[in-house]
């Protein structure tokens, strides 16, 4: 009897140990950790990253129940200051010491490219919701890098097409002088020229320029009908405001913001931004599902969600669903799962993550409303056109990504 008891105890202990080791195999450690690496204090802190981004990820984790596969989900965040070296150092520390399983946000294309390559070398998934360059899923694509939300190919499809068709044929670019701006200028030029327009000149301004006056004067002197702002965040806000103070629009030229968020419209004021058309990956007031989510987000953070913030929520949820479905946080298994999943939530309608890492989904052409037509503080724009995913993004066959067959 004693022997039997001993054997039973031994057996039970072994079963327990077995269960524990099975658990160890399911997750690399006893938690799933998500790192939000964004611009927390600079030009992109308001609409792309900042507290609103961390809030969106935490909200997704809470809505998910706070745990996956029986283990807690943790969120950490840091400021990359728009410096690729700072971002790489942080990502390396997160992966090696903090055991982070997925890094998201990664606003700023230079940062996005650096961290995506570093994380993939170390076998960690990145879900980039903030950067725009198409390089992330083309020549610089990686095995574990996902570009979730929008890119510089999708942005001009709506905006530039609408403007050229309205008669704005001669374009001049004021371009943010790094990967993002040049990528956006290239993609926009392609759209403009394919519709019979021409580009008469361009000037590159450093990221975080405070005084756009001399660039604007060059644009004015160029004789262009359209001055395209291939920049984003505070840079866009500054250039639109200063164009106003140097009488550019009174002079008969039209401004085209190639990447505008509703937070930018809010800080410009509808009076200045009136009539501005811009392409967005999502708009909070588009349908009931979006409004319901936006309402909960606003109660949490105090501001209306921009599309990168909505993308962060959606990306985090998609990642956690993939971990759950795969039964592990192993990067290969989760990446394969993300490939198979269809993402159809309030953010990504008919969304699909392709082998090159690009999320293809519908985009929206928005137009800023007259202040008198707004029904609330954040009701700043209306949807002029829905751009189906297959029009907004190029087909997979055109992707130059080398990892497609893997």
């Amino acid at each position: 009897m004693r022997k039997l008891l001993l054997a039973a105890t031994c057996g039970f202990t072994m079963t327990l140990a077995g269960a524990a080791s099975a658990q160890d195999q399911a997750l690399s450690n006893d938690y799933v950790k998500i790192g939000v690496l964004g611009d927390m204090s600079g030009v992109y802190a308001t609409g792309f990253s900042g507290p609103g981004a961390v809030g969106a990820v935490k909200m997704a984790v809470d809505d998910f129940g706070g745990s996956v596969l029986g283990q807690p989900i943790r969120v950490i965040s840091a400021d990359h200051q728009n410096k690729p070296d700072v971002a790489s150092a942080t990502a390396r520390e997160w992966i090696d010491q903090e055991r982070v399983d997925m890094i998201t946000d990664l606003t700023n294309s230079a940062v996005g490219l650096a961290v995506q390559s570093l994380a993939s070398d170390k076998g960690v998934i990145t879900m980039n919701t903030g950067a725009a360059t198409t390089q992330l899923t083309n020549e610089a694509c990686t095995k574990y890098g996902i570009h979730y939300g929008y890119d510089t190919y999708a942005l001009p499809v709506g905006t530039a097409t609408a403007i050229v068709k309205n008669g704005g044929k001669k374009w001049f670019f004021i371009t943010a002088d790094y990967a993002f701006g040049h990528s956006l200028q290239k993609n926009t030029t392609e759209v403009v020229e394919s519709l019979g327009g021409e580009v008469v000149g361009s000037v590159a301004a450093p990221l975080g320029t405070n005084d756009f006056a001399s660039y604007l004067l060059q644009a004015k002197a160029s004789g262009a009908e359209v001055i395209a702002l291939a920049n984003a965040g505070q840079d866009t806000v500054n250039s639109v405001k200063q164009a106003d103070s140097f009488g550019i629009v009174q002079g008969g030229q039209q401004l085209a913001g190639m990447l505008v968020l509703i937070s930018d419209v809010k800080s410009l004021g509808q009076e200045v931004a009136k009539g501005l058309q811009f392409t967005s990956a999502w708009y909070w007031n588009y349908d009931d599902e979006s409004r319901e989510w936006a309402k909960r987000y606003m109660e949490r953070t105090g501001a209306a969600p921009t599309f990168p913030h909505a993308a962060l929520y959606s990306a985090t949820t998609a990642y956690l669903n993939a971990v759950k479905a795969a039964g592990t946080d192993d990067a290969d298994a989760v990446r394969a799962q993300l490939n198979e999943m269809t993402i159809d939530d309030f953010f990504a309608k008919g969304g699909d993550i392709r082998p090159d890492g690009l999320l293809v989904h519908d985009m929206y052409l928005l137009k800023v409303k007259e202040a008198s037509a707004s029904k609330g503080e954040w009701d700043v724009a209306g949807v002029a056109r829905v751009i189906p995913g297959e029009q907004a993004y190029p087909p997979l066959s055109e992707s130059t990504c080398a990892h497609i067959d893997q």
Binding site: S41, G42, V43, A45, Q81, N82, G201, V203, G208, N210, D211, A213, S214, L217, Q218, A221, S222, Q234, N238, S245, F246, G247, Q250, G251
Partner: protein
Amino acid sequence: MNVSLDLILAQMMLGLSAGVFYAMLSLGLAIIFGLLNVINFAHGALYMLGAFVALIGHSYIGPWLGYEDFQLGFWPALIVAPLLVGCFGMLLERTMLRRLYQFDHIYGLLLTFGIALMLQGFFTNYFNVSGTPYGGQPESLNGIVNLGFMYFPKFRLFAIVMSIVVCFLTWFVIERTRLGAVLRAGVENPKLVQAFGINVPLMVTLTFGFGVALAALAGVLAAPIYSVSPLMGANLIIVVFAVVVIGGMGSIMGAIVTGLTLGLIQGLTKAIYPPAANTVIFFIMVIVLLVRPAGLFGKE
């Protein structure tokens, strides 16, 4: 791109609006170097401090003190910021800089450079690196003026006029009044001036305070034009030192004229060949150093 006369004039106007800041800052540097023999590397940080006094006074001080409605407007800030920052400068001079006069220039340079880094670090901790917009621009200076060849914001025009007036008043006081004569004598022979019953150490402290106050005044004028950022001084100070080197260390009129001229040249370059605009000043500096090592207005 064809360059029209209008574009050249417009860019030169913008150049002038940058040039007045070069002039005000290099003027302060020249006064401090002339009387104290100190190369004040903290000058850019003190300019930044002036802008922050304006920003904090306008947007933060009320809530901090518990009076939500209290705001320090732009006009009072033009007085308050130079006073506060000037006092801070005098404190630095009394407690630290004073101990270094007997040593080589390099010690003063190192000390002020360290102070600049500390001030920048402190503000970087609490404020946006890329700048916080200053909302206190007075109503009366909003809007634009049609200059014929361009539309120009009223506020920038005000900043240009005000800076030029301040620069020439300073020059007048130092070069044409009895007070200025005493100051200059104090530089030449402090012991003799002291023998006449003048408190030279106090005079030196006040002079340092005045030079610093000029930087703070420039900071307040810059706040509505550029956003207020912890690094705004660091970005500007390199150009300003080039201006001082070109003009000649310690020359009051040299600093003013060189500052304005280099602003105009920079504007002209922006119209003719924009990529060279940021390097043209340093190019001129190299030529001046080769041909006239003491600077255009230097004495040696």
